[in-house]
Amino acid sequence: MITLKDINKTYPGIVPLHVLRDINLHIDKGELVSIMGASGSGKSTLLNILGILDNYDSGEYWLDGVLIRNLSENRAAELRNRMIGFVFQSFNLISYKDAVENVALPLFYQGVGRKKRRMLAMEQLERVGLAERAHHLPGELSGGQKQRVALARALITNPSIILADEPTGALDSKTSKEVMQLFRDLNTDRNMTIIIVTHDPGVGEQTSRIIRISDGQITV
């Protein structure tokens, strides 16, 4: 599903920062992996590259047989929309849209009709157990609920990969467990490829493989 060959990334600046050094990585379809490492080790940078939100300086990134390099912004947007679902630590919901509108938004950019969008969004909200909160604004939801809305939004386009950057970072241990349970169910029931960046060893334990990264290099 995902193959990285000698990926390097440097943040330019007065003191250029070489964040990713010769990353080689292969993740199969249907894997549930976690990326762990110290703060500043380059986990988010790696995940953003995987999500085509950021570019890399050298190497090759193959996503489902497609070489991700120098894509036009249109092509990148399309791949993000169809293949990738994002879950962020800070949820990244749009504050003035209610839960169902937030979940439906990716379909808006696919040109799906309004009624169908709503219906599919409600389905996803039901899956994450939030159907009765459909018309609440993000501000009216708890952290766990927000993260479940975000997960529903990531799932609505039926992507092949879910990328989650510290999805439980802002949640307490109980809600963390619930959210992790959702990820595990998705992985087993729908054979989705899921990559989770985390600091929490408890989260790491629940994944089938832990990728450890230190100073921009994969150590395990």
């Binding site: 953003n48 999500g51 939100l53 950021d54 570019n55 912004e73 249109n74 947007a77 399309e78 993000r80 929309n81 169809r82 994002f86 962020f88 800070s90 990244n92 919901l93 749009i94 003035y96 849209k97 938004l105 990716p106 808006f108 950019y109 696919q110 309004r114 939004r153 386009t157």
Partner: protein, 406 residues
């Protein structure tokens, strides 16, 4: 489309203050543009109503006094125009000089009927005087050629005069008015609220004046003239011809006076277009400051929404979707509030038109459909411009960076 409208509506509602500020800036700009255009329209209308109808191809010549000695004459000599001048001018054979007529002014006269009497003065004129002066008839007819040939004692009254001498202007036609021991047949009434003069046939007026050859004004109708230069050339020919008849220095500008209606008309028209252009320029600049305001606020608002735009791009919004949304949002704000400005501006011009009414130099201010249409086009373009630059700038930010922006 409905979805997009909904998206725009949501963001507008979510940024109420911003929307209101932008809106006010645009509404104000448009309001000013409309009021200015409406006012200038009033001036143009008044011009058309007063002067526009007046014949625009005549040169009028009035007697003057020489300021230079010439051929043994001393300066300060009064140049008396003669009836014979018109034939000499016509026989010049200049292709710019068409028909030449003349006018004789009478001293003040008292007209009376059984009902009332009134002081007035007469002008002895040719039939062409009607179109030259731009007056219109409200009843009966104007002086005609037969009146001139037969030196008829017929008279054309002004509306005011007809009203005071006869109860009803319509009924005055066919009645007679007394002037000293003469009586004149009223053949027509012309439309004038401010003029008290009356018209009689040129030949009759000469007879009243004691059959002298003296005339008070020559009227040269121009042919084949297009430009200001043509008008000046015709003037030159006339001046030279008259100078040779009356033996004065053709360069002496005061020997006879000219009123070149043709050139005046051209200049007035130019003046009116300049007025119109000026108003548009001022209006557009006022509007422009509104647009710059919109653009500024759009910049700020797009900047504020960097994070949101980042989210949208992360979930797959293509650049053109973002671009369209921001531009349409800006266009919606400008047109929506612009129309508010149009309505207010139109209302104000209507109110002004109502209160000032038909004063000199001002008539029916207001905006017509074509202006509203032009302004709409301006609004849409302006809105698009105001939205486009911030949107393009927003798209330069990479999705990661946009997401990192809090």
């Amino acid at each position: 489309m409905i979805d997009l409208a909904n998206e725009i509506w949501q963001t507008m509602r979510n940024n109420k203050l911003r929307t209101a500020l932008t809106g006010v800036a645009v509404a104000w700009g448009i309001f000013m543009l409309i009021v200015l255009l409406g006012m200038s329209r009033g001036v143009v209308n008044a011009f058309d109503a007063n002067m526009g109808k007046r014949g625009s191809n005549a040169i009028n010549i009035y007697p003057g006094v020489t300021t230079e000695a010439w051929h043994g004459y001393k300066m300060g000599r009064y140049i008396q125009l003669k009836d014979g001048d018109k034939d000499v001018l016509e026989s010049r054979g200049d292709n710019k000089i068409g028909r030449v007529t003349a006018k004789v002014y009478g001293q003040s006269m008292t007209l009376s009927t059984d009902r009332d009497y009134a002081m007035t003065y007469y002008e002895g004129v040719f039939p062409s005087e009607l179109s030259r002066s731009g007056t219109t008839m409200v009843a009966g007819r104007f002086i005609n050629d037969a009146d001139i040939d037969q030196k008829r004692k017929v008279i054309v009254l002004s509306l005011k005069m007809a009203e005071s001498l006869f109860a009803n202007p319509e009924k005055s036609i066919g009645e007679t008015v007394r002037f000293g021991n003469l009586s004149f047949l009223v053949v027509g009434v012309f439309d004038s609220r401010w003029s008290r003069q009356v018209y009689i046939p040129y030949s009759t007026a000469r007879m009243l004046a004691g059959n002298t050859d003296n005339v008070n004004q020559l009227v040269v109708e121009l042919d084949n003239v297009r430009t200001l230069e043509d008008g000046i050339a015709a003037e030159r020919t006339i001046r030279n011809t008259l100078a040779s008849i009356h033996d004065y220095n053709p360069q002496d500008e005061s020997a006879v006076y000219f009123w070149n209606q043709f050139n005046q008309h051209l200049q007035m028209n130019t003046g009116m277009s300049i007025l119109n252009i000026t108003v548009w320029v001022i209006g557009i600049f006022t509007l422009l400051s509104g647009i710059i305001g919109v653009s500024n606020i759009m910049f700020v608002s797009v900047k504020e929404r960097t994070h949101e735009i980042g989210i949208r791009r992360a979930i797959g919004a293509k650049p053109h979707s973002i671009l369209t949304q921001i531009i349409l949002e800006s266009v919606s704000i400008t047109t929506l509030f612009g129309y508010f400005g149009i309505i207010l501006g139109t209302a104000l011009t209507a109110v002004i038109g109502h209160f000032i009414g038909e004063q000199d130099g001002f008539l029916n201010p207001g905006v017509d459909l074509s202006i509203a249409f032009e302004v709409t086009v301006v609004l849409i373009l302006a809105g698009a411009m105001a939205g486009m630059f911030p949107a393009l700038k927003a798209l330069k930010v990479k999705p990661v960076e946009a997401l990192r922006d809090e």
